[in-house]
Symmetry: C2
Subunit: 358 residues, 2 copies
């Protein structure tokens, strides 16, 4: 950690995390499950930063979800060893890495293919490791996962039968529902999806196979899933940092992430910032300017944001804070972030897993 200084001392652009806001978001989420038997496993894909994960481990919970093997390795290197990779890990190179990781961390992973399960068993056996396995069930997103019911049971049986693997339960992610604008519709569709997951759980248990973990949800559906009977774990990520789009569907969490950007050019009716779509993801839409509700982001070029405003009291060099539309994608666009509290810099953290997909 560098000598504490204020944000104003640093040059723009900077990716900034407001720790007071993070604290409130963590308290809101973890507080909701304080007296319940449901785990909150924070999705590390939204963070990609070991320093922030360690901070969360000290302020709420130390269970993490990953989208990629390299993210899990970053967590294990940081001493955070309760890890679930909610993805398919395929091919001999990654399966060896996964088995090695399972020797130094408590690792779970998703499967949806019998051959992959057999190869994983061989890799685990060769490394002398045990890998926790969740069968991924397609509950409507139509991405990965086996269909609910018999196909899931069949794969669970295979996992149980093979050495080096431990069948832990079921994964069912409702990624397609996270940003459904109408909350009632989101809840209804979410519960429809969960019915399939819970029915599959019952089918597997009826076959004499214990199902320890049933996990899913994102920030958009956290409470709909978290309070649903038969669910043991939720896996939201965006709630920690938030963004302008998630804030529309989940106003109970506030935006902790921003890009501090400087005005580099001005003309009548517009000003231009020194950060664009390479630094501020626009895959969910346009960002917003913090504290300047009348300013409108007209467009993002790669290294410029053009803001329309009819009240340009800003001078060249002045800074504004830009709230991105998508926090997960924005964290991935940077190599470092600055953690602040009341504008005081508390840490400059590397974002170890950004720009890596292995």
């Amino acid at each position: 950690m560098p000598t504490p200084r204020t944000l104003a001392d640093l040059d723009a652009p900077q990716l900034v995390i407001d720790l007071d806001v993070v604290d409130a978001n963590l308290q809101r989420m973890f507080g909701a499950f304080q007296n319940r038997e449901v785990d909150v496993r924070v999705h590390f894909k939204s963070l990609k930063c070991a320093g922030l994960a360690r901070y969360i481990a000290c302020h709420g919970g130390d269970k993490f979800l990953c989208a990629k093997l390299n993210e899990a390795e970053v967590l294990a290197d940081a001493g955070l060893t309760d890890i679930f990779i909610a993805n398919q890990i395929v091919g001999p190179i990654k399966l060896r890495r996964l088995a090695e990781l399972a020797r130094r961390a408590d690792v779970r992973v998703c499967v949806d293919d019998a051959d992959n399960v057999r190869e994983m068993s061989r890799a685990a056996t060769e490394a002398g490791a045990t890998i926790g396995v969740l069968v991924e069930v397609n509950i409507g997103m139509n991405r990965c996962g086996v269909e609910p019911g018999e196909p899931a049971l069949e794969l669970a049986r295979l996992v149980r039968s093979l050495p080096g693997l431990r069948f832990d339960g079921l994964q069912g992610y409702d990624g397609h529902l996270q940003l459904v604008a109408d909350a009632d519709e989101r809840k209804r569709k979410c519960h429809q999806s969960l019915e399939k997951l819970i029915a599959t759980r019952r089918l597997i248990e009826k076959a004499g196979i214990p199902v320890k973990v049933v996990t899913g949800a994102g920030t958009g559906t956290w409470e709909f899933v978290g309070f649903y009977d038969g669910i043991t774990e939720i896996q939201p990520g965006s709630f920690v940092l938030m963004d302008s789009i998630y804030h529309q569907v989940r106003p109970e969490f506030a935006c902790a992430l921003s890009i501090m950007a400087a005005v580099i050019s001005k003309a009548p009716g517009r000003y231009v910032l020194d950060a664009g779509s390479k630094a501020i993801s626009k895959d969910f839409g346009s960002p917003a300017i913090l504290g300047r509700p009348h300013d409108k982001v007209a467009r993002l070029a790669e290294e410029h944001t053009v803001v329309e405003s009819d009240r340009i009291d800003l001078r060249i060099g002045d800074r504004v804070r830009v709230i991105p539309a998508h926090c997960c994608a924005t964290m991935n666009l940077h190599r470092n972030c600055v953690a602040v509290r009341q504008e005081q810099v508390e840490a400059i953290w590397p974002i170890e897993a950004s720009g890596r997909y292995d």
Copy 2:
């Protein structure tokens, strides 16, 4: 450089550059200006990789354009010292860095503000450096730049009057025209924009100020600008690596950039790849699957690409090559790239300037 091996030996996903295709693209561009007095200055924002820049310096030209100061520093560190930063560099920290850079490299930069020019002069004088300055003229993109004519002349006069600065000429970038689908319309609008730039050149020269450099263009308008009377330099970048969108408007350059991705899941009618929008920029649109024209990219999640296909001869673990829709944004999403020739790995290059915006 590691021991050469084939691409098949590496794990997926990997960002891959086909050097044979790069060679042909470079030859096409540099060949067009072999007997002309026009410089081709390759835009490093599209590359962000010193290894690739060094390769280009050996295969065409060693003049580079940058969007950011950190990109210029990466080039200078790599021994490539003919650098033009086509952007406004503002604030005391960056102006100091710029002046330091100008002590070890031949650096040019854009200006569009009188106060910024005065501060730049002070920074250059303090460092004992000379900074080459181009006045940026707004030729229709409505981003940075002063208006054509008198405002440009006025700023040129100021630059000429101050120590530490050298007035070199005019920048006029037609970024808003690069992807206009109809070539005739693109050419017509491009020439309309250039008229303003050349008229400004004449005005400044009439005032007794020599204008050494008049520069602009991107890959979409390279020949329209490059062969226009009064232009001394073009600054395309995407032509080196190309992408599926630029290829539609500029078929004379071929796609050298791809993401090697593995199939991690299959279901009737679709397969899923292990790289998504975090690794394959979708800001210009959906990517294409190389050599599989009947497969359709249905959607990109952060770490998944869902491909619809009614001929799924692929098995889990098989690799395909994905051609991104936007090469510049995709290079920025990775920390490394693999340079291959006929599937043989020639280099694994770090992408030094990805994820950095200072």
